[in-house]
């Protein structure tokens, strides 16, 4: 067991190392002087002293390998990703931390809704395979799964914001609301509704497809026949035998998605001008703000690696066979 955890940890560190290496290499492929890039690109005037200071900090006069790599990695570990081009003089790490709560609110809420609805629907569809509910749910889920969530978001804006005027389709707050008050919280959730729905619908599609497949695999197992022969009720069979065994792939997928959904929400945030990491990514892309883009890449990498780590560990706990 401890060997297994050790292997998982080593792999996680390797992945992060490769993300950091990719950042390092990409940053040096861009035409132009890395020192002036770190200071905000050639687009703004910087003094020779500032460039020299950057050269010192990042060791840009030293050989590329191993000195620069080591300097880069130690700076990354300290949380120093340089300065943003677009938001002059601001640290990339500060910018990202500022925007992180909005994204966590969006993807967290969407995850909860999607797990509740998607898993329930999928388990039911898999339990009653071939029924009317199964056909309708599976068809819709497959379509939702294949739809880019940002396009769903655009459709939601057209219907619920433009045509019906029920919900706001833009931004995170109404003008004039005092930040921190209860009215602000309600207003925030009000603005959150459509983006959350867009992200959640895509996830629901995925969860239904996977939960249904997991259930379908389980209900054809021999122990289900045994359970039926023992005289268990449908409910006992579903909860005690089928659902528990089908949980394994579902739990793994949900915990993996904790990492992937941040990246998946980027386009949705762009649709709704949601002030999270996605909005920041679009601004970084438009301004070709490389330090910011790399900070975001590192954040996405870290969240994906942590989610993978969690999935691996949970799998070990849930499946006793893995322990041996």
């Amino acid at each position: 067991m401890s060997r297994r955890i050790g292997g998982i940890l080593i792999r996680a560190v390797m992945t992060l190392l490769m993300v950091a290496t990719l950042n390092f290499v990409l940053f040096r492929v861009i035409p132009g002087d890395p020192a002036s890039l770190l200071l905000g690109g050639a687009r703004i005037s910087v003094t020779a002293e500032q460039i020299e200071a950057q050269r010192q900090t990042w060791g840009l006069d030293k050989p590329l390998f191993p000195d620069q790599v080591i300097d880069y990695l130690s700076a990354t570990l300290r949380g120093d990703f340089g300065f943003s081009f677009k938001f002059r003089g601001k640290h990339v790490a500060d910018l990202i931390l500022e925007r992180l709560p909005a994204t966590i609110a969006l993807v967290g809420l969407a995850q909860v809704i999607a797990v509740l609805c998607g898993v329930m629907l999928g388990v039911y569809a898999g339990w009653r395979r071939g029924g009317a509910v199964d056909h309708v749910t599976t068809g819709i889920s497959l379509a939702l799964y294949s739809t880019p969530s940002f396009w769903l978001g655009m459709l939601l804006v057209v219907v619920f914001s433009t045509a019906l005027r029920w919900l706001p389709g833009y931004g995170a707050s109404s003008p004039g609301v005092i930040v921190g008050s209860f009215a602000w919280l309600l207003d925030y959730l009000w603005h959150l509704a459509l983006p959350v729905l867009a992200v959640a619908l895509g996830l629901i599609g995925q969860y239904v497809v996977v939960a249904r497949a997991a259930m379908s695999d389980v209900v054809t197992e021999d122990y289900m026949v045994t359970a039926r022969a023992k005289g268990l009720t449908n409910r006992q069979m579903l909860m005690g035998h089928a659902f528990r065994n089908a949980m394994l792939p579902i739990v793994t997928l949900v915990s993996l998605n904790l990492g992937y959904v941040v990246a998946g929400a980027i386009t949705v945030e762009a649709v709704f001008a949601w002030p999270g990491i996605g909005g920041l990514t679009v601004e970084a892309l438009n301004a070709r703000d490389y330090p910011l883009l790399q900070g975001i890449f590192l954040l996405l990498g870290v969240s994906i690696v942590i989610a993978n780590l969690m999935a691996d560990l949970i799998y070990g706990v849930l499946d006793p066979r893995v322990k041996q």
Binding site: L22, S146, P148, W151, V271
Partner: protein, 310 residues
């Protein structure tokens, strides 16, 4: 003797293929997928004959954001271009990007998978560590940071093989970042294939490693490559659409994703121009669904145990 042998073998193969085709065509999902795909391929093959050359802001014929009418079946965009015209030309760009990226990804994935599985040992460990990385970090995330850098390094002018540099970069980046899944599947299949007797026989007969991999293992991997290839295309369309939507596409050769990005920037959703954002979106949805259906049908046909689950 050997002639009869060859004849019966080719007849066997023909029978196997026709049996496969009958089963595959009989699959409801496959029929729907193939019809949709055929339609879009036909549209992508001859956009000029169907709707004329790609309209620009100068040659635009309609009003701004006009709803669908007899003149413009799918309405117009914010500079008066016909949306049907844009979507039909977008089909060509989107499908070409997705298919070429898939070819790259299948070639890389199959090569890595076969090599790792066949040789085993250190080669396997090294290749699979790299594969793990690309498996864990999604193609979209990698493309998001690589594409702008590659664009800056290459410059934005001119054309490469008939593509604007940004589209060329997107093709290569998607192809080189989305092969990990294929490599894993191919590796595990190779691991089981190389233990079979016919591989031993080929080795005893003096075949080289390369020849065994190409002539004995590769043909047996066709089912896996085909079924996964269809899913890789669906994924490539998704990534291309997302990247273009974030502004990494090329407005001079607009794909469906670029059209959605233009629609978003012109505020089509907030003025209720559903036709402008609806048309490219429906196309993306239909094509990726078609590939998913075809992929599932291929999987079902090749793998009878899975036939229970549609």
């Amino acid at each position: 003797m050997s002639k009869i042998n060859v004849l019966s073998r080719s007849r066997l193969r023909a029978r196997a293929i026709s049996g496969f085709l009958r089963h595959f065509i009989g699959h409801g999902g496959a029929q729907l997928g193939l019809v949709c795909l055929g339609f879009f391929l036909a549209v992508a093959a001859m956009p000029d004959t169907l709707v004329g050359p790609l309209e620009t802001a100068i040659t635009a014929t309609g009003d701004f954001l006009a709803p669908p009418s007899r003149l413009h079946y799918l309405g117009t965009d914010e500079v008066g271009r016909d949306v049907l015209n844009l979507v039909v030309h977008g089909a060509r760009i989107s499908l070409t990007i997705a298919l070429l990226a898939t070819v790259i990804s299948l070639v890389v994935g199959t090569t890595v998978g076969i090599t790792a599985g066949y040789f085993g040992g250190l080669a396997d460990v090294c290749l699979m560590r790299v594969t793990d990385f690309f498996f864990v970090v999604p193609s979209f995330v990698l493309a998001l940071v690589i594409t702008p850098v590659a664009l800056e390094a290459m410059g934005a002018g001119g054309e490469i093989l008939g593509f604007r540099p940004s589209l060329f970069v997107i093709i290569v980046v998607i192809g080189l970042t989305s092969w990990a899944f294929v490599a894993r599947v191919i590796r595990s299949q190779t691991l089981s294939l190389k233990e079979r007797t016919f591989i031993d026989r080929a080795r005893v007969a003096g075949s080289s490693n390369t020849s065994i991999m190409l002539r004995h293992i590769l043909p047996n991997l066709v089912p896996q490559v085909a079924a996964n290839g269809a899913l890789v295309v669906a994924n490539a369309i998704y990534i291309e659409t997302s990247l273009s939507f974030l502004g990494l596409g090329d407005p001079l050769q607009p794909s469906w994703g670029t059209l959605l990005s233009l629609a978003q920037r012109s505020g089509a959703a907030s003025v209720g121009a559903w036709w402008y954002l609806g048309a490219p979106g429906v196309c993306v949805l239909t094509v990726s669904l078609a590939f998913v259906l075809i992929g599932n049908a291929l999987d079902d046909t090749f793998n009878p145990r899975r036939r229970v689950i549609p």
